[in-house]
């Protein structure tokens, strides 16, 4: 991993102007990403993970809008580009992998044609060249007999195979950043494991930077280098995966970890964080977790800063857990 970040997100804030009010779906999100690194973004459903990904891509559609913050990629400020300039970046410098491989591919186009469409969006290429490139890309993601699949339609492939194809398509223009939004959530567990291993291998081999969005901490544990824990549109804790899993600083992370079945002693009841996640329309003032936090105090009504809690670690809490302690 090189030290210079490929992607730098600072104070990104995205709001949906709805009839019911303004929903702050992404709120002051900052992180950076280096080559060859996988950053996990983990959080409950509705915490703003997908909107974070879309905001980085410049794909938030009205009534949503990135209201402040900056996304910088290899020195270019993406948030300052117009739509035409941004489109040239999308799919070439920064690509996305979606959750549901069943619906991500166009049902009426052959696999080869879908590669061709993505290739020719960024450089002149003939169909014949596109087929060669596609076959190689499909081989790389572990599809056997790729040439025979070129003329297949998506419905002729299994779910796992389709997600491999999606990944191959997303990678085909050799982007330096990939945002994968729950790419294995729709797949069954054995296939999920294979795809995760394949993703990890490709990130290492190609030295790309990946944001891996998931609601599943165990996936983060096996795959990611660093993790950002999202709650109510904010990243509440950010740092190396092994450190955060072993020694979480934010009470929300503590709760999340305690609610993973694998970590609970046999037969004991699973821990649940009391209450539900607040709506982005109506976030509590100050620390948005304070309404569910057992440690909440008067101070928590003022917003906590995203402060360093250890080397390379940050948390958004007035009372981060004892460093090195086990009282959580």
């Amino acid at each position: 991993m090189s030290a210079v970040p490929v992607l730098d997100v600072s104070s990104l804030t995205t709001v949906f102007e709805l009839k019911a009010g303004a929903a702050r779906s992404v709120n002051d999100v900052s992180f950076s990403l280096r080559r060859g690194e996988i950053l996990g973004i983990v959080g409950e459903s509705g915490s703003g993970k997908s909107v974070t990904g879309l905001s980085i891509m410049g794909l938030v559609a009205p009534p949503g809008r990135v209201v402040s913050g900056e996304v910088r990629m290899n020195g270019t400020v993406l948030t300052g580009l117009d739509e035409a300039q941004l489109r040239k970046k999308r799919g070439r410098d920064i690509a996305m992998i979606f959750q549901d491989p069943m619906t991500t591919l166009n049902p009426v186009l052959t696999i080869a044609r879908q590669f061709y469409e993505v290739l020719r969006a960024h450089r002149p290429v003939t169909m014949r060249e596109a087929r060669e490139i596609a076959a190689a890309a499909m081989a790389e993601v572990g599809i056997s007999a790729p040439r025979e699949r070129l003329d297949a339609y998506p419905h002729q492939l299994s779910g796992g195979m389709r997600q491999r194809v999606c990944i191959a398509i997303s990678l085909v223009n050799e982007p330096s950043v990939i945002i994968a939004d729950e790419p294995t959530t729709a797949l069954d567990v054995t296939i999920q494991a294979q795809i995760l291993a394949m993703i990890q291998r490709i990130v290492r081999e190609r030295q790309v930077a990946m944001i891996f969005i998931t609601h599943d901490l165990s996936v983060v544990a096996g795959l990611c280098d660093r993790v950002g824990v999202m709650y109510g549109g904010r990243i509440v804790e950010l740092g190396p995966v092994d450190e955060i899993l072993a020694d979480p600083a934010h009470p929300y992370t503590v709760g999340l970890l305690a609610s993973i079945p694998g970590d609970a002693p046999a037969r004991s009841r699973l821990f649940q964080i009391p209450g539900t996640q607040p709506s982005p329309l109506d976030l509590p003032s100050g620390c948005s977790f304070r309404t569910r936090c057992t440690k909440a105090a008067a101070l928590c009504e003022t917003a906590p800063p995203f402060a360093p809690v250890a080397d390379g670690r940050q948390a958004r809490c007035h009372f981060p857990q004892n460093r090195g302690g086990h009282d959580a």
């Binding site: 040239k88 799919g91 690509a95 991500t104 166009n106 009426v108 469409e117 339609y153």
Partner: protein, 325 residues
Amino acid sequence: MIAFLIQRLLQGAAVVAAMSLIVFIGVYAIGDPVEILINPDADQATREAVTQMLGLDQPLWVQYWRFVQAALQGDLGTSFVFNIPAGELILERMPATLELAVTATLMAILIGIPLGLIAGLDQERWYAKSILAGSILGFSLPTFWVGLILILTFGVWLNWLPVFGRGETVSVFGIEWSFLTLDGLAHLVLPATNLALFKIALFIRLTRAGVREVLPQDFIRYANAMGIHPARVVSRHVLKNIMIPLVTVIGIEFGSVVAFAVVTESIFNWPGMGKLIIESINRLDRPVIVAYLMVIVVMFVIINVVVDLLYAVLDPRVRLGGSNR
């Protein structure tokens, strides 16, 4: 594929057979053609002679059986009025109607689909809303009224376009065509517009609905996320998906223009099948009516097969040949 065609051929034959019976009985039930054909002052003997000559003294089933036997040999009966084979009469008029129907359908496709795309893609803009509002007019105005307004406006007041007949025609392979001469084309404009208006409105609606359905889908979001140009997304990714439902409707609409161009052909005096059938009904020219309806049935059967084939071409998920189809 072959199995599919054979299956559809058999199905089509069954439909044609069933329809022939229904049509024959239906036409048999309406009035006595002899009354209309002969001089009202004619005596009983003449009356019986004519009835016998036309075979109308036979019981219904004998008449039907004779019709079927003749029809299988390509003889759809002889017009009572013109005394020439009914099939020939219809085929002679068919090119005029087909010409009108094809022109109207092409207009509807070339105007309706692009307008529908605009209405669906930019739905919040004023022009998209205007297109949509306009399509309601196209739906609700009666064809004959629009026809008259067209004649009044472009024929009478502005005097830009002819409103009567086919104009100058050119003979190709023994068939007369209007669209090959400038005068013929001018004659084609108003009746074709008249017929196309409803279809344009229909295609606008269908295309718009298709666009609204396809746009939010993941594969369109993915195409955008991969940097594909919006125009390309529409032309390759959206259009191909919405063509599937459109093709069915285009097929059915084409059939119905051919079958029901009656009003427009009458208003514009277009010498097609529609005008022929109206005249034949007025004169109770049974063989022509039956022959016309049979031609229409066969045409619909063919259109359905063609639509199914197109379906399979457009939608890779459709498999031809299954017995469930």
